[in-house]
Subunit: 303 residues, 3 copies
Amino acid sequence: MKNHRFVLFGAFLVMAGCSSEEGQKTAARDPLAPYPPTGVTREFELTIDETQWEVGPGAIYNAIAYNGVIPGPPIEVDAGDHVVLRVTNNAAKPHSVHTHVVKFTYTNDGTHNSVVAPGETKTIEWDAVYAGTFPYHDHGDEAEGTKRGIFGALIVHPPGEAKANEHVVVLADFDQGEYDSLPGVADPETGEFPDAGVYHGGHQYMHTINGKGYEDAIPAFKGKVGELQRFRVVSIGNEFHTWHIHGHRWLDGSGQLTDNVQLGPGMYTTFEFMEDNPGTWLVHCHVGEHMEGGMIADYVVTP
Amino acid sequence: MKNHRFVLFGAFLVMAGCSSEEGQKTAARDPLAPYPPTGVTREFELTIDETQWEVGPGAIYNAIAYNGVIPGPPIEVDAGDHVVLRVTNNAAKPHSVHTHVVKFTYTNDGTHNSVVAPGETKTIEWDAVYAGTFPYHDHGDEAEGTKRGIFGALIVHPPGEAKANEHVVVLADFDQGEYDSLPGVADPETGEFPDAGVYHGGHQYMHTINGKGYEDAIPAFKGKVGELQRFRVVSIGNEFHTWHIHGHRWLDGSGQLTDNVQLGPGMYTTFEFMEDNPGTWLVHCHVGEHMEGGMIADYVVTP
Amino acid sequence: MKNHRFVLFGAFLVMAGCSSEEGQKTAARDPLAPYPPTGVTREFELTIDETQWEVGPGAIYNAIAYNGVIPGPPIEVDAGDHVVLRVTNNAAKPHSVHTHVVKFTYTNDGTHNSVVAPGETKTIEWDAVYAGTFPYHDHGDEAEGTKRGIFGALIVHPPGEAKANEHVVVLADFDQGEYDSLPGVADPETGEFPDAGVYHGGHQYMHTINGKGYEDAIPAFKGKVGELQRFRVVSIGNEFHTWHIHGHRWLDGSGQLTDNVQLGPGMYTTFEFMEDNPGTWLVHCHVGEHMEGGMIADYVVTP
């Protein structure tokens, strides 16, 4: 929110001969084959800060976050890039950066000796040799840091990827005990005002899309008819979700037609569809309590 | 239960030349390719009514339901049919019909201006151009209506589908606060009788198959050796389930051998197997608490 | 722990001509085609005993278990084997053995008349005609027995299976009401010592890998660079898990690259990867509360 100290030092070296013949179906590739090195090194600076994060109007969360924002800034690279992260921990406890599927050695894992003590800076390195969308997140003390907001999305583009309108979706449940204030919504039965993120059986402001709860606070996703839409969805926390987009459908990773994909904590999916259906659509987690708790937004498609 | 005012106005126009060459593996088809229009329009009338629904002997739920039954009547059409639903809301709050995967415009989505106010009737239209089994359900006020029972299954048959003995399974969790009465099962520790659907750590009458809990209330599924069995399973509500059939196995949507498939809220699957194993088998959700809470039934196979 | 009365009576008859041409990708096989009979009968003796099971140092669980151990002994056979289990129930209530995917008749299902009364012995028989890893577990009284620890893994090797370093992983949640003692970890807020497996919002010693909680109690998984690693993961109980291995990746059953697979109760997966990344890695359920509750272990890879 404040504190967007996200720095891309940029690409230093680009290898020649980056072929475009891979603009075909990725299904034809062996998914276990790493992409060859691009020769490019991408550097990112991440800080870990305690912050007051506004989940929605009047709903203030005692958060810890990468660069002060929830989710942390997208880390966006090309498959084959070498990634260098300089991580500074300004919070009171040890934290780190762990991620998924990319290659790294044991000492760059975000656990053990790559955890960053309060006040320290450490550098970790990855080889992003597989394309896709993955969560990156704290691993300093099991799950406490991710509950407080220390997570984001890593995006690895394959060579020759089709041009698309991209949407990054980070699903997370927030710890109801960490709310500093909540909006003045009285319990319809008791007339009392909630103080811990939950009222009347629902889980108000608990379930978030990109760090925010409900349509009023979550910026609408936007698309245009005739544009390829690509959704990159990752999930983090304690809950299992089903991500539903009204009025649209796509193939999931196993090739099945769907409009509702399931993601447990630490899971991720990337899918796309050609936009052909204008209107203001709901996108939401299909779990009743999660939708009631904030995990619902608009997807506005213009003709 | 009462109130089965389900009307099929029928097929008006059948296009010639409905080929039967598609009785092959559906895997060969591009799952994103819509089926061509049949030229048939199917009309259905759905009412939304408050009702006392008997989940099991003595377990009365303060329900709201399509046509007074939980699940609502199956909406069964052929791929390529145009579907017209006339929805009348007899309940106290706004409700609607939303569904999955079929094509519809923004104004037929069951949200925004296709929500039906109390006392009103609205007509919505879909093109059922993809085959499969999908949930249809209320979207009037996020999750409240589905918790009360406003849901059902939509069945879209592909052309040339193999003849089978069909089983429709709608999994749902019920809101324990909405039980009006429960059977006289005393808590074994306290001797007290439950009044809210839960006792002794279990979730009695909370977890339902086709609107009912436990083998006594859920009509047994029935099959015969030598018959192709087709299960159409949809899930709605707050919970994730795993649907297990004893003594049988099949290929899931991604082609893996299984006897236990996972469905989160809003998810759906259709699978089939050739019956070869006579006996009285259990079918149930494999989540311990859900089985204990009612999500268990018999599947009786005769030789 | 004590009481490892696991007896393999051995193989009686081995058919000639066991071809090795199946050392290829199993993907090419029709997954619904049963493996032909090997002519081998494998006999196992299982007892069901009440026991005090040490989930971790000082955490004693009032368990019921096959052969006194949680999980029960692996039942390991070759695809095509006939399996005979002699089951003796030394516990106070009726219990049984049910399993998944293998072929058995209605009377060998672990329900109805194959449930074993206290003090009795019964024999059940299966044909293990499909390869994979599956849970076996009590079905005497719905979910009570599995909550207490009556479960294990069944391993069915396909012919020509590649030689690998095998890891069996049984994920289960334990019933917090059944702990007899817990380690002396005071609640940091109240100073009180927990007596039911839960403190401070976490679920201490609730979530187990192979019957144990946390790295101190769970024997480390071990591998070597250059060795094929095969993980056989099954899940049982009330919870959904995502099984994550740090620093590694593999293809899931549907052919997608992943490092984090989802398993609900009764689900199972077998996957493998060539080891190339030395170090001490974490393996854990990615659900925050489950990791905090004990479902976390080490995977030590030597060069």
